[in-house]
Point group: C2
Chain length 87, copies 2
């Protein structure tokens, strides 16, 4: 089984209140040097069978019609190696 | 300015109701062949200055103490090339 990741982020021109809230809190927590923070969604899809072009275009369609609101969000689709031990 | 991405996902052993809701909806929308869906958060941080080891360890600490709840979530940190035109 392969893993495909769909990352969904607000379009750059769309205000991101969640990201701004995180950014404003960072200096109070002692973290300087972060000019901007954007927060979005990450979907990890475990795909049955080979991840060929047909599967990827299906997932692209799925992202476009269901996982992202393409009026205000952009998305990217990429095949992810099975996550090694995450920290 | 460089962009560092922090991906935060629920630990594998933690139930993911949002991911399950997405997974159950997919066949109704005509998308077959997706065995599992996990949903998490993606933070894009625009970092002032060079992203050297010191900056990365600071961001790692930021993720550990603020962006992720490490009791139930795992996170990864990676440097991201400026996003080319997203779809």
């Amino acid at each position: 089984m392969a893993r495909v990741v769909v990352d969904v982020m607000l379009k750059p021109e769309i205000l991101d209140p969640q990201g701004q809230a995180v950014q404003r809190a960072l200096p109070r927590l002692g973290f300087e040097g972060i000019a901007d923070v954007r927060q979005g969604k990450r979907f990890e899809l475990e795909v049955e069978g080979p991840v060929d072009d047909a599967a990827l275009s299906r997932i692209h369609e799925m992202a476009e019609t269901f996982l992202a609101n393409t009026v205000i969000e952009d998305f990217t689709v990429h095949v992810d190696e099975p996550a090694e031990a995450r920290s």
